[in-house]
């Protein structure tokens, strides 16, 4: 298939474009998404011009009603793709996702479904100085919602492929984009490629330790793995791609081989996604591990605005390399 280098932003735009073209039931809803704005940073640019302002529809600032309307449209056979501008705003809309969308198939024994996608973005790690209400990384909440699926792509090609799967999935999907990655370029298949959920990507093979991550954390994971080569440490890096479901078979196969695991994410470490990954690994591979599973995540604090302390709130590459060195020694040490 033909490929083209593009940004993640471009890839998401293309994925939406192709979905709108393919299926007349695909419907976009969100604040500022229609042209001329085309989204506050242009993710939906051109789409309302191409498909009409009916199908690519600006909404009032009414997050609960945006998701509620998407739930209703999905009940009537549409495949709505609702945009909630930032994940920090999801709390305002989360009732509809939690209490309606995620439970609908179950509560009707499959007679009504929710082929619904919610796109949102985390600004965490962008370093823009937006402060505490615009820098959160809340994916752990959504992993705890039975009936939902949660996707968090780390590159342009995955974003397009996973978005396509999300839109045509018959269950509700939360698709979390990462602001800091919108500009990241990679080669993207131009035709329709749907990447299945629950299929992690081993982005870098290795022998000594497995670094598990997703989204923006993957950048740190890969950088750490590259830096560790000089020390003779061979790190395997896994991109989870989807957090619900998690591809445990791939994770466990890797850790069974390396006997060491480090989980890295931008979400707050305490009670974060890494807790589930670590708890599952120790449970499944007890006795086979050479070191405890270590988690690297954001500090337990709101995100501050000033650049010095904002950067310190999030994990960095040396947090990851330090953690790997520790697990290589098999030594238990408090990591925060």
């Amino acid at each position: 298939m033909q490929e083209q280098e593009m940004t993640m932003l471009g890839a998401i735009n293309l994925g939406l474009d192709q979905a709108l073209a393919k299926d007349g039931k695909v419907l976009l809803l969100g604040e500022d998404i229609a042209d001329p704005a085309g989204g506050i940073i242009g993710v939906t640019k051109g789409l309302s011009t191409k498909y009409g302002a009916d199908r690519v529809r600006d909404t009032p600032i009414s997050e609960a009603a945006i998701l509620g309307a998407a739930v209703g449209a999905a009940l009537a056979g549409y495949r709505p793709v609702a945009e909630i501008m930032f994940v920090d705003l999801m709390p305002i809309a989360i009732d509809q996702l939690l209490n309606h969308a995620a439970k609908m198939r179950f509560m009707t024994a499959g007679r009504l479904t929710q082929p619904l996608t919610v796109r949102t973005a985390t600004l965490g790690g962008m370093g823009m100085g937006n402060g505490a209400t615009h820098n959160q990384t809340l994916e752990a909440w959504f992993m705890h919602i039975p009936g939902l699926k949660v996707v968090m792509p780390s590159n342009a090609a995955d974003a397009k492929g996973l978005l396509t799967t999300a839109i045509f999935d018959d269950d509700p999907v939360l698709f979390i984009e990462t602001g800091a990655l919108y500009g990241a370029r990679s080669s993207v298949p131009l035709g329709e490629v749907a990447i299945p959920f629950g299929q992690a990507n081993v982005v870098r093979p290795g022998e000594d330790v497995t670094i598990i991550s997703y989204g923006l954390g993957l950048t740190q994971a890969v950088a750490a793995a590259e830096a560790l080569v000089a020390e003779g440490i061979s790190a395997e890096v896994i991109d989870l791609r989807t957090l619900l479901p998690v591809d445990f078979p791939t994770v466990l196969e890797s850790v069974a081989k390396t006997r060491r695991a480090v989980v890295v994410h931008y979400a707050t470490r305490f009670a974060g996604p890494g807790a589930e990954i670590a708890a599952a690994i120790q449970e499944e591979l007890f006795g086979q591990l050479a070191a405890p599973v270590v988690r690297i995540g954001a500090r337990f604090t709101p995100v501050p605005q000033a650049p010095t302390i904002e950067a310190a709130a999030y994990p960095n590459v040396s947090d990851v390399t330090d953690a790997v060195r520790r697990v290589m020694k098999g030594v238990r040490e408090v990591v925060s």
Binding site: D54, A69, G72, A73, D95, M107, L112, F197
Partner: protein
């Protein structure tokens, strides 16, 4: 709004629905209070006039969103009684196989698209259904039924604004029964008429006596017609009363005695019966037959449902996802 004159056909339709609603409610109340049924139930007794008028004003292809206090609305829309009782009792023969419960009944075949336990949260969902109807280019109308208390939720406001903005085929029916759980309406809002809230969205708002099914039907029909013909949403406030309190078992001590007595006096069911007889168009026999039919239908449904089993434990994890393969256990 004055009392409208309806055709006897419509009045018959309304009375049939009211009789069925009342028979269902009476049977559930009796069954729960006696311990025969173990179920959660939010009685609509006293509110039949609103739901019957709404049901009669809607077409089969129209859709409805309602709440936990929804059995009358479901019946108005035509839900089969076996389905209704089976959902409430959680039996395996329920369309939702014991997974929904009283607060969450859906009957897509009859147009009941959602009942929700979240006060107010159904209203935006109805907006989405109405948007779909509009995009489909169909003449489908969506009605959403909710209480007085629900109009204080943010969801009501966001949904009403959106529906007005997009000129959607939506009928917003506020069944103002003067209480939200144990709190009277005038303790939760300063305005006297909930229909005045329509002004905030530039849509039509009307207040009707919900205990007068004919008047209510006229208002519903007008709203439905407006929606169907592209005139956009309407907010219909129907004044009524919950004669049995919030849920079965409610002691209603928080309701002043005089208010309750007055409400009993205004019970729409005997009043409507009386009106039909007095009009001369209906005989005592005809109405008795309608009532007997309703009771028989209820008894038959209860019998079927009582005999049915609860779902097997093994069915628990079904229907969480279309494809559960990789999902957590």
């Amino acid at each position: 709004m004055g009392v409208a004159t309806l055709s006897t056909d419509v009045q018959r339709r309304i009375y049939r629905l009211m009789a069925r609603m009342k028979a269902v409610d009476d049977r559930l109340t009796k069954g729960i209070l006696s311990g025969e049924f173990i179920a959660i139930y939010f009685s609509h007794r006293g509110q039949e006039g609103v739901a019957a008028a709404l049901g009669a004003a809607l077409r089969e292809t129209d859709q409805l969103v309602t709440t936990y206090r929804g059995a009358h609305d479901h019946i108005g829309k035509g839900i089969p009684l076996v389905d209704l009782f089976a959902e409430i009792m959680g039996k395996e023969i329920a369309p939702a196989k014991g997974k929904s419960g009283t607060m969450h009944i859906a009957s897509p075949e009859t147009g009941v698209m959602l009942s929700t336990g979240m006060v107010g949260s159904g209203i935006p969902v109805a907006v989405g259904l109405a948007l779909a109807a509009q995009l489909d280019g169909s003449d489908r109308v969506v009605a959403v039924s909710f209480g007085d208390g629900a109009t204080n939720t943010g969801a009501f406001h966001e949904a009403a604004n959106m529906a007005a903005l997009w000129n959607l085929p939506l009928v917003m029916v506020c069944q103002n029964n003067l209480y939200a759980e144990k709190t009277p309406t005038d303790h939760t809002m300063k305005i006297k008429k909930i229909s005045a809230r329509a002004t905030a969205y530039d849509i039509v708002g009307v207040t009707v006596n919900g205990n007068d099914p004919d008047e209510t039907y006229a208002a519903m029909s007008e709203a439905v017609e407006r929606a169907r013909s592209g005139g956009g949403p309407t907010l219909v406030e129907a004044l009524t009363f919950r004669l049995r309190g919030h849920a079965i078992g409610d002691d209603m001590v928080y309701i002043p005695k005089e208010q309750l007595a007055e409400a009993e006096k205004n019970d729409p069911y005997p009043a409507y019966r009386q009106r039909l007889i007095s009009s001369g168009a209906f005989s005592e026999d005809e109405l008795a037959a309608i009532e007997a039919e309703a009771t028989a239908a209820v008894n038959a449904a209860v019998k079927t449902v009582a005999a049915a089993e609860f779902p097997a434990v093994e069915t628990l994890m079904e229907h969480v996802y279309a494809n559960p393969e990789k999902a957590p256990a």
